[in-house]
Each structure stands twice: as C-alpha cells, then as structure tokens.
C-alpha cells in the first residue's frame, strides 16, 4: 500500500513586512519558509501507519515547488520514508490550488498510490482546496478535516474520524482509494533532528516537470488557473496598547487614556 503525502513549503511573514511593488504578494525579503504545519501532521500520520504496519506501507512525500522547497521534503525524509518527489517548472509559477491538485493527482496516478494524505490547509494562503481537489481530479473518495485514521492494509475501506463543530467527531468509513485531508492535533509530529535531515540528503528526490506528467504548459500556471490574485491589502486597524506595570501604574495609565479620549487632558 502506497501513501502519497503532498506537502507545501509555506511562506512565513516577518513581524514587519512590505508588499511587493505590484501589490499582489508580500515582498520576498520579508518571508521565511517552512514546512506547512498541517502537512507535518499529515506526514506524521503516514509515518505512524508505517510504523504500525511495517513495510507493507510505503510512504512518499512530494511537493510542487522550486529547488528551495526541497528543504521541506528533507525535513520529511529526516523522519522517515525512503524517497521523495518534487515537481517544478517555471510555468508552474502562480498556479492556483486547482492546478496544484491536478499535478498532485498526476503524480498519484504515476506512483499508483492507494491513498493521499494532505494537510487540511496551508498556513500561508489558507485555501483549503488542494487536498479535496486532488480527490476530485482522481475521482476518489475523500474525507476532510480528519482527526483520526484507522487503516488495515489491503482492506477496501478505511475508518476515519472527522472533526465537526463544537468538539463533535464524526466517524466515517471511506472507500479506498481515498484522499484524506489531515487536521492539526491528530498526532504529535516528531522532531526532525538536524542529523536526520543531513542524512536524508542521501535519499533520492526525483524531480519532475509538468510535461513528465503529461500536462501541457496551458494546463498549468496562470494559463491553467481559473482564479488569480488581484492584489493584497492591509486593512486599516485601530490602535491598541498593552498596559503593563504595577497596579497603580496601570490604573494611572488607564485614567490617562480615558481622559485623552474624552478630550480633557
């Protein structure tokens, strides 16, 4: 049984950041990158299943992204798994989630994967679309916001729990093959030691382009996307102040503010 785990290297904002000149995204100077938190949980879920069942389960992380995105794959491989896949080509730039899902679906087919574990959403753009779109592309069953997975290899169904409102959980049975989008808190992702990450560099990362997967330039990037970012804005915010100090100092400051607001300084 093979589980494909698509992960994303997400952008993390600096405290003070500026937007790009075209206003469509944050200036890269103010970005750090890391493995998407949800994907960390998805990978951990795959790792735990492999530990539970042994070699009958193969787990493969993949990402759609440039060379630098390999860091996230290495972080996964630092914890387990034997190989990874990275898909990239310039023309994939600015693809929307549907396009990314199309690429992932192609990889899943090429790999003859039995399951796809994706994160519920990515912390940077937060579309929550990629995972479920992969299921649509493949015409597989799906379960979103999964908080528990129960698999016996070779069974035709799997049992999963899904998180609902108000702490309620729904236990469902899903036909295989299936796509699961994994929710935070499903497990406790382990730490990837730096040694582990370094040693993972010896594991192969297969690099593919969209054409290797049978996709045309027109299927991907802006050309293939049906949505696009127009601009990013920072909505205006009010002012806040954290009042600290001793009780007396806090009271004095509070009184000051009240006076100020009433215009009676």
């Amino acid at each position: 049984m093979k589980i494909l785990v698509p992960v994303k290297q997400v952008a993390v904002l600096d405290e003070d950041f500026e937007l790009r000149d075209d206003g469509k995204d944050v200036d890269v100077d103010f970005l750090d990158y890391e493995l998407n938190e949800w994907d960390d949980f998805a990978w951990e879920a795959a790792l735990q299943l492999q530990e539970q069942h042994g070699d009958v389960i193969e787990i493969v992380p993949m990402t759609v992204g440039p060379e630098e995105a390999s860091d996230s794959l290495l972080k996964c491989l630092g914890k387990g798994g034997e190989r990874a896949i990275r898909v990239w080509h310039e023309s994939l730039q600015d693809s929307d989630p549907a396009v990314i899902a199309r690429v992932i679906a192609k990889v899943a087919q090429r790999e003859q994967a039995d399951m796809v574990f994706a994160g519920t959403l990515a912390s940077d753009h937060g579309y929550s679309q990629t995972g479920v779109s992969v299921a649509a592309e493949l015409n597989w069953a799906k379960a979103a916001v999964v908080s528990k997975v129960n698999i016996s290899p070779n069974a035709s169904c799997i049992q999963v729990n899904r998180e609902l409102e108000g702490g309620l959980e729904e236990s469902i049975e899903v036909q295989c093959p299936a796509v699961l989008t994994i929710q935070l808190g499903i497990n406790e992702p382990r730490y990837a030691s730096l040694r582990g990450i370094k040693q993972a560099k010896a594991k192969p990362i297969e690099v593919l382009s969209h054409t290797d997967l049978g996709l045309q330039d027109s299927d991907v990037g802006i050309a293939g996307s049906r949505s696009r970012v127009r601009r990013m804005v920072m909505p205006a915010k009010g002012q806040a102040e954290l009042i600290e100090g001793s009780v007396v100092e806090q009271a004095a400051r509070l009184a000051d503010i009240v006076k100020q607001l009433r215009g009676g300084v």
């Binding site: 382990r190 040694r195 915010k237 002012q239 600290e244």
Partner: protein
C-alpha cells in the same frame, strides 16, 4: 618484650594446631573453591563491562594518581558527610590492614616456607603484628556499627531507596532487596570480625597453660579481654578447645563465602569504586562526548551502547545517595534521581550481560517504560547541573550518560513540544527564543554609543552576547550595563551583530548533537573571519561551550567570563568607580561558571571590591543548587504544582537575615530567579540583580533611559 627464656621462633601462632589431616584438606579445597569462584565472578563482571563500547583512555598515569590521592585522603567520602567519611576510612584502612595481615600469613605459610623454608612470622614481628590486627578489627567493627546506626537510627533520607521515578504501585518502586543487601553486607563483616575475636579468645583459653601463648596475651588486647570474660563465665580449657574448632570453621567458611560472592555483591565496590575513580574525566559535564557524525545512529538506546567505563560506573555505585540528595530535579519532585538511574542501568546490565550470550536487542533497551529501563520523562527532568557528578564519591559521571540517552530520544524525535519548538527556532533562526535573526542586536539601540561590528573591524575583545542577553528584556539591561562598563573603561570591543548564533550549550545538552555541530561550525567560521584577542561573554553557558567544547571543532579561543574580566579590570584599576555599593547580599553560583568551570572566586572578589558584603547560603560554591534552567530545561515550563528548583533556592536565600539582594551571574539564573522571587513572595525583600549591574551602579553609568523600566513604555501592537 620477649622473655629471654623463650625462643622467639616459638612465639607465633601455630596454624591448624591439632587439626587432623582431613580437615586441612577440606580447608584447602574450600579455599581454592572460594578463590576459583571469586576469579570466575570477576571474569563475569569484566566480560559484562567488555560488552560495552570501546573507549580510548589517555593520561592514565595522572588519573590513577588522582584516584590514589582521593582514596588515601578519603576526600570524596568526607565531603558534606564528615562522619560517614571518617567511619568509612576506619573500615577501609583497617580492613585493608586485616587483608594485608592475612595475606602476609599466607605468604609465609603457603609460599615462602614450603618453597624456600623462609619464616618471619614469629617473635617481635609476630607480637606487633598481633597487636595491629587486634586494633584493626576494632576499627572495622566501630565503622560497621556506625554504618548500622546511620541506617537504622539516623534514617537518613538519602539512604531511603524509594524512587521518585516510579509510582508507589510499581514493582520496582521500593528496592527493598537493596536494604537487605546492605544489611547482609554489614552483618557478614561484623560476624567475621566478632567471630575472629571470639576465636582468638578461645585459643587463649584453650592454651592458657602454654607460656609461649599466655605470657604474650596482651599483645592481643581485645582477644584477651574476651578470653578473660569467657574464663570468668567458667569456660574450661578443654571446652575452649572444642569451641575453637567450631568457630574456626564458621569464621573460615563465612569469610570464604564473602570472598566467593564478592564479585556479585555490594562488596565489589571495593574494586569497582577504585576503577571508577581511576577512569574519571577532568570535564565530564563541561565537555560532552563527541559522536561520529557519519554513524548510522547516535546516542544510547541499549545497555550495550554505553561504553565499558559507564557500565563499570553502574557497578561502582554504593547507593550512598549523595547525588540523590544534591539533585535539584529530585528535590523538586521530578521523576529523576541520579542514583536510581545508575542503579536501574546496573540491574539491566546485570540481568542481560552476565550470561554467556547477549540477549536480543529488544531485551537490551535502556530507555523505555519497563522495569529496569530509564523513562524519557526521567531523562528530560535533568538540568545537567552536574551536582551529582560533583559529589559522587566513586567518580560516576551521570551527565554524559543522560545526554547520550537524550541523543537517541532526539534522533527518534521524542521530546516535549516546547523543546521541539526551541530546537526548531534554533534551526531556523539561530536562537532558541524564536526571534528574528535581524533583531539580535536590537538591544544596542538603547545605548548612546555604537558598539563596533567585529566583523568589520579588529577589536581586542569580542563579546559573544548569547541568546538571553540579546533577547530577554530583563537581561538586555545587563547587556546594556556591560556595554557601558566596557565603553567607560576604554576597552576596544565589538560584537558579531546578526552573525552570532546561539553557542549551542543547551542544544548539545538536550541531545541535539547534529544541530550543535552545525552551530559550532557556523560560529567558528564567523569568528574565523574576525580579528580579536579574546572572547568575553556574560553567559556562563556560552562561556562553557566556547571555552571547553568549541576546541573539539577547531575553535580555540581565549575565553573569559564577564565577571573574570571585570575582576581583572578592577584589580588593574581600569574601572572608574564613583561610589561603593555598601550592600549586604547573597551570591548564587551558577552551575556553568561554578561547578563546571570552577570559578567561584572572581565574582566574589568583584563584589568585595565594590563594597558588597556576601553572606553565603548554606549551599554554596561546588554545592550550589541549580536554578533549574540548565540542560534545555529553560525551554520547558515546570508544572505549576511543583516547587521549582529556583523556588527552593529562593527560600534558602530568604532564610538569611539582613540581605537585600540575590546576586546572579547568568542570564538563565536571572530568568528563573526573577520568577521565583515573586512566586515565593520575596520580591519585597530581595532584589534579583546581576554582578554586572552592581558594578555599573557603582560607576553611575545607568543612563536615564535604562533606569526607566520597559514596562512603562507602551508597546504598540499595530499602527493605524
């Protein structure tokens, strides 16, 4: 002394006097059997140790010299428990005397006499020999009785074998068989001593008419006193002769039993302790063991992953409980006792490595939740403060063992979420606090001068600032004070600005060796591009690692702690003091400057020179009690319902009358004690203050800005 009428050669003890031949044969067979058993036992033990990993030993001569010094002086045993030390010395030296005495007789009777016909055990020599042996027996006896007294009536908590790392209901919670073993050991020796005296006495009564014996009876004062007593009770010479037979055999057989079982009982500490003391490292905690970066896995998972010296350590432990008593984690109720950890590993290695074959890997696992396994929560409780290593009388080095086991846990990704976050921060941002790299030098903005950028110009003194001095709001003030002191004293100094990464002291102690190596290599590369004479730091953790651990990675620097530097500067009159502090305080030795680097004096000297009187806490210098932050524990919040180590320490300080400050020399201590002084309700009595700040105030360096506490500066959360 000797009656001229007596032939000195006849004044001796006739061995096996009146014994039938078969008895002598049985005796020799028993002796050989006991010796054989002893040798076999030693073989089993040595083979057990040999199943650990190999290590190379350097400077053995020096180490053995140290061992001999410590054994002769009994220094390690007298420390913090003088009576136990003295009594152990009595047992040790007198027992050794008895052993040498017995060996002397064997040498004459079984070796020299049959081979060369030489004899010397008679006349004056014999008489002095008898006296010495008689008195040595007293020494052993008194010592043993004291040990019994300690166990039974003093009921010292450190001799209580209940474990903090197990629940009451667990099978190995109360190691009652250890108590039994202790008592058997004591009783066995006492019985050997007592029967020895009674045996001697019955010989005297038996031979009371023999002038060659009776006239010289007072050379065995104790034996003779017992003999007179027995005589008074109406024991006849014939009766005594008979009693002698039985006692002789009883005494002999339990002594043989003692020898035969020695390698398997507590008694083996006679050998293992000596070996363990000879294998001590100079810096077990300050300089942690290197690993092979290319190895498949690192750290200790199974008992056989320990090196043979560590396996031997586990056998050297005498359960004295000194480490147990000194351990801050144990004192605060964490599931860790260094003693119990060592003993758990001893049990595991005894159970698995004494057989002919080594069992399967699963049975060898040292870390786990089973019986005779070390739990991960135990390992994570350690603060690597080295209090245990410091006080262990037999030279056991607990900290490297703990860190090696943590290395395996880290490799498997098993750790507290908070530690994980801190390590990820270090991986991504070069500091454990999770602050942006670019903000590393933000604290310098409050100064009214610019600190040189050591990357761009040559400096005399390169200041390695460290994470907490760079980012912790409270300690930033200390950093600012230190900068002002250096500036006012006209020192040419600089910092690395954003290029500095955490030195990695905690990262290494947590067990993340790969990350530590990366940090060391990166910092060393950065430092290589700078021109400077010395490195200074206010952080004892960075100090320790730069000084003791970076050399293993090619970074050899002259590293000095801030308090050492200012001590020199004060001595050289380079610091313009405007006033004296005139305060009475107590001073807390940080583990990394104190125990790990043995610098107790410099900070005290500094305080003295600026008019600060130090009133010592009961536990000071090498016995200082850790604030609880070391070994990465600063990253894991201690549970609220526990008395944190820092709180226990603050309560200790609060007992002292008429002091107004608790002086620290370490950013992590500062962080811990700032909390503890509040949570123990001592903040109106004690101020937690750094040595550096006291100096700065005597130089009247505080600018108006830094006097203003940060808390009154409003923090803008976001702008309109």
């Amino acid at each position: 002394m000797i009656n001229p009428a007596h032939d000195p050669q006849a004044i001796t003890r006739i061995l096996f006097q009146d014994f039938p031949l078969w008895m002598m044969v049985v005796f020799y067979i028993s002796a050989v059997a006991a010796m054989a058993m002893f040798v076999y036992g030693c073989y089993i033990q040595v083979r057990k140790y040999w199943r650990g990993q190999p290590i190379s030993l350097k400077q053995m001569q020096q180490r053995i010299g140290l061992m001999l010094r410590d054994i002769v002086s009994h220094r390690t045993l007298r420390r913090r428990d003088t009576s136990a030390g003295i009594m152990h010395a009595a047992i040790f030296f007198c027992f050794a005397t008895l052993f040498v005495g017995t060996a002397t007789i064997t040498l004459e009777y079984d070796i020299l006499k049959p081979i060369a016909g030489w004899t010397f055990w008679y006349g004056d020599f014999y008489l002095w020999f008898s006296l010495l042996m008689d008195l040595a027996g007293v020494g052993v006896g008194v010592g043993l009785v004291y040990m019994m007294y300690r166990r039974k009536w003093l009921a010292l908590p450190k001799l209580d074998y209940h474990r903090p790392d197990r629940q009451t209901a667990e099978p190995d919670y109360d190691r009652s068989w250890y108590r039994l073993e202790d008592w058997l050991f004591l009783w066995n020796l006492i019985i050997i001593i007592v029967t020895g005296y009674v045996l001697e006495a019955s010989r005297l009564v038996w031979l009371q008419t023999d002038h060659l014996v009776w006239d010289y009876r007072w050379w065995s004062p104790i034996g003779t006193s017992v003999a007179l007593l027995m005589h008074d009770f109406g024991l006849s010479a014939q009766g005594a002769g008979e009693l002698r037979y039985y006692l002789w055999w009883f005494h002999g057989l339990i002594a043989f039993l003692f020898i035969a079982l020695l390698p398997f009982t507590k008694a083996k500490h006679m050998f293992t302790a000596i070996a363990s003391l000879s294998l001590r490292n100079a810096q077990p905690t300050a300089r942690l063991p290197l690993t092979d970066p290319d190895a498949e896995t690192i750290g200790v998972r199974s008992i056989t992953d320990f090196n043979w010296k560590q396996l031997l350590h586990t056998d050297a432990c005498t359960k004295c409980g000194r480490c147990h008593e000194a351990c801050p984690a144990n004192a605060s109720g964490f599931p860790l006792s260094p003693r119990d950890m060592v003993l758990t590993l001893r049990e595991l290695s005894n159970n698995t490595l004494q057989g002919r074959k080594i069992p399967m890997v699963d049975d060898l696992k040292a870390v786990g939740d089973g019986v005779n396994q070390i739990r991960s929560e135990t390992l994570w409780s350690c603060r690597t403060c080295s209090a245990c290593v410091e006080i262990c009388p037999v030279g056991i080095e607990h900290v490297p063992m703990i860190v090696e086991m943590r290395r395996a846990l880290v490799e498997d990704g098993e750790m507290d979420a908070a530690v994980q976050t801190a390590l990820q921060n270090v991986q991504k941002k070069g500091n454990s606090i999770g602050e942006n790299k670019r903000k590393r030098a933000a604290w310098t903005k409050k100064l009214d001068f610019t600190i040189k950028d050591a990357r761009k110009e040559a400096v005399d003194l390169l200041w390695f600032v460290g994470d907490y001095a760079s980012f912790d709001p409270r300690y930033q003030k200390v950093a600012q004070s230190f900068a002002r002191i250096l500036q006012a004293s006209g020192i040419n100094f600089g910092i690395l600005y954003e290029a500095e990464m955490t030195a990695g002291n905690d990262v290494r102690r947590v067990g993340e060796e790969g990350l530590f190596e990366h940090l060391a290599e990166t910092n060393i590369a950065k430092l290589a591009a700078c021109e400077f004479e010395r490195i200074v730091t206010t952080d004892p953790h960075s100090f320790n690692t730069l000084k003791n651990e970076y050399p293993d990675f090619g970074g050899n620097y002259d590293v000095i702690h801030a308090t050492q530097l200012v001590e020199q500067m004060l001595t050289d009159g380079m610091i313009p003091l405007i006033r004296q502090a005139n305060r009475k305080v107590t001073y807390h030795d940080s583990c990394h400057l104190g125990r790990l680097n043995k610098e107790y004096e410099a900070p005290r000297q500094v305080l003295k020179k600026i008019g600060v009187e130090v009133v010592e806490m009961p536990r000071n210098q090498d016995n200082s009690f850790c604030c609880g932050a070391g070994g990465g524990r600063i990253w894991t919040p201690d549970p609220l319902d526990m008395d944190k180590p820092a709180e226990l320490r603050m309560q200790e300080a609060a007992q002292i009358e008429a002091i107004d400050a608790f002086v620290v020399n370490c950013p992590k201590c500062m962080n811990m004690f700032e909390d503890a002084v509040k949570s123990t309700g001592n903040d109106d009595k004690l101020e937690v203050i750094e040595v550096i700040e006291l100096i700065a105030s005597c130089m009247q360096l505080e600018s108006s800005e830094s006097n203003e506490t940060d808390t009154t500066t409003p923090t803008e959360i976001s702008e309109g």
